[in-house]
């Protein structure tokens, strides 16, 4: 009941400050870019002055699945940045301004407050990712080639877990620090660190959540979910749970001063 109250208020706020508009919009634009630019690449090259006379360059059209993976890579850069920016003040901002004081003198459990905030952010992120990927999928099917709806859903769900992890990291830092700038900086630092370390040590850290996209690419190529993907997903989910619990514990000991 209280949980729903906070969750609804989160969504009302996101609607009033247009988070519910601009975040999905950014994801849709990001999602549309790759199918379109892949399809129109020859025309684009032509209009840029074209290739030198006599040069025959064969630009292979990537398989349709790869186009979706390209879209996911877009989400992984700009999308993650958007997620971090939109979530950096969910709790820290309320504490900084002092609104949290009025909320937390009411008989609200800390875990209720935190999980409702988490769900509120996650809701926007999930819907945005879905719409973004859906538009990518739609244009890929239209312009390049068919990708099964089942595969689209798999991409959405697996990649969604990674974005949920990013949201959870942001929330965790939200409980630790009162400055939204600090929160966004640390969240980005952690995300970049995970990606870099996993890429450098990709042969060892096969289970790393940072390798979600290569694994998804393998999944599309092989048509089955590789074991590493399950591993990375399980690790992500476990981390999410641990971070949520840690957030509650940290928040309880932090004073609202």
């Amino acid at each position: 009941m209280q949980w729903l109250t906070i969750f609804k208020r989160e969504n009302l706020e996101a609607a009033r400050n247009f988070k519910w508009v601009w975040v999905p919009l950014v994801f849709i634009i990001l999602g549309v870019t790759d199918p379109l630019s892949t399809y129109y690449l020859p025309e684009i090259l032509d209009s840029m002055g074209g290739l030198p006379e006599g040069a025959t360059v064969d630009i292979p059209t990537p398989p349709p699945g790869e186009v979706l993976i390209m879209s996911l890579s877009q989400f992984n850069m700009l999308g993650v940045l958007i997620v971090v920016l939109m979530s950096m003040g969910t709790i820290s901002g309320e504490r900084k301004s002092g609104v949290a004081e009025l909320v937390l003198v009411k008989p609200v459990h800390y875990h209720t407050y935190i999980s409702a905030k988490w769900a509120g952010t996650l809701g926007i992120v999930a819907v945005s990712l879905f719409l973004g990927l859906l538009s990518s999928w739609y244009y890929t099917n239209l312009l390049i080639g068919d990708v099964a709806f089942g595969q689209f859903m798999q991409l959405f769900l697996f990649y969604g877990v990674w974005l949920a992890l990013v949201v959870t990291f942001s929330l965790f830092f939200n409980t630790l620090f009162r400055s939204p700038g600090m929160v966004s900086f640390l969240t980005l630092a952690v995300v970049i660190l995970i990606s870099m370390v996993s890429n450098v040590l990709s042969h060892i850290l096969t289970w790393s959540p940072g390798l979600m996209i290569p694994h998804l690419s393998t999944m599309l190529a092989e048509g089955s979910v590789p074991g590493e993907l399950w591993a990375a997903t399980s690790i992500s989910l476990a981390t999410i749970v641990i971070l949520l619990i840690a957030s509650t514990l940290v928040f309880r000991t932090k004073e609202m001063a």
């Binding site: 109250t5 301004s97 009025l102 909320v103 937390l104 003198v105 009411k106």
Partner: protein, 310 residues
């Protein structure tokens, strides 16, 4: 009946106690002012009572509800209440009402009633961002009362208001104290005298005086009489000092102030003397040192003590 007992409450920041072994209780239905200069530890105390910060040591006990979440029984208005400025006043009240376990319908009814009560019903659908300071303060009081708390705590409820807003909020508090137990902090003695029945005088984290307003006044009462004359008063000083009941005489700018042992006797003796000697008295005033003097004395004594130590 006691509603709240505070036992040895201490809060230490970086080894220096901000609140130092407080010990007091609050009776049901009373109106208590936590009075003290800035930095005395009033806000820290209230925040501990509200459950926003954890005491370093000591105990806070709400008599009726030993095991429950005490937050359900208290309403708290912070010194500078902040709201979601994008919400309108009523939305916010319904929101916090629901957080305090009211149903949406109850919260909505209660919100309207309270907004009417505190006089901001006409702006209920306006964004809080557009509210004036006084309106926000009243909205703050309304949000503290939304769940009909047993104890209402207001932290410096009038300090940030202009004289009109201040008067209005003080009057509102006088009404509120009829229906609930009220504890508020202030650094202005006048406000404490105006509204409260009991006083906790706090300084440097300690309670240095407490009791009903009357008992504190009586305890620190010194009787004094001030006399003004048409002529220079110096001529009468010796005469007055000769009186048995007069303890000391102070020559002030335009008259004399006499500290006396017994007010009744002193009045009689002085007036008799004045009558017999045909003193050109223009003003005769019987006074008692007010709490203001006490307040200043306590704060100054302390400042002086510091001065000498240093």
């Amino acid at each position: 009946m006691t509603i709240l007992t505070v036992h040895d409450l201490t809060k230490t920041y970086e080894k220096s106690p901000v609140v130092d072994r407080l010990h007091f209780d609050i009776q049901k239905g009373s109106c208590v002012a936590l009075l003290g200069p800035n930095g005395a530890g009033k806000t820290t105390t209230l925040r501990m009572l509200a459950g926003l910060i954890t005491p370093t040591s000591g105990r806070i006990a709400f008599e009726d509800f030993p095991d429950h979440d005490i937050r359900a029984q208290i309403g708290y208005l912070p010194q500078h209440p902040q709201f979601h400025n994008w919400m309108n006043g009523k939305e916010f009240l319904v929101y916090v009402g629901q957080l305090a376990h009211l149903s949406k319908k109850e919260a909505s009814e209660q919100a309207e009633a309270l907004m009417k009560r505190v006089g901001i019903l006409e702006v209920k659908n306006q964004r809080i961002g557009k509210y004036s300071g006084g309106m926000k303060q009243r909205l703050g009081i309304a949000q503290a009362m939304i769940h009909k708390p047993k104890l209402l705590m207001l932290d410096e409820p009038v300090s940030s208001l202009d004289p009109i807003g201040r008067r209005e909020v003080l009057n509102l508090m006088k009404e509120l104290k009829q229906e609930t137990t009220l504890l508020f902090s202030t650094h202005i003695l006048k406000d404490a005298e105006d509204v409260s029945d009991e006083l906790l005088l706090m300084h440097r984290g300690k309670i240095i005086e407490s009791g009903t307003l009357q008992s504190v006044r009586d305890k620190h009462r010194i009787d004094k009489i001030s006399l003004h004359f048409q002529t220079e008063p110096d001529a009468y000083v010796a005469d007055l000092e000769g009186l048995e009941v007069v303890e000391s005489v102070l020559r002030e700018k335009d008259g004399l102030t006499l500290w006396v042992k017994d007010l009744e006797q002193a009045r009689e003796a002085i007036l008799e003397r004045a009558f017999l000697n045909k003193w050109p008295v223009t003003q005769f005033e019987v006074g008692r040192t007010s709490l203001e003097d006490l307040f200043m004395k306590v704060v100054n004594d302390d400042a002086m003590a510091d001065h000498f130590q240093a």
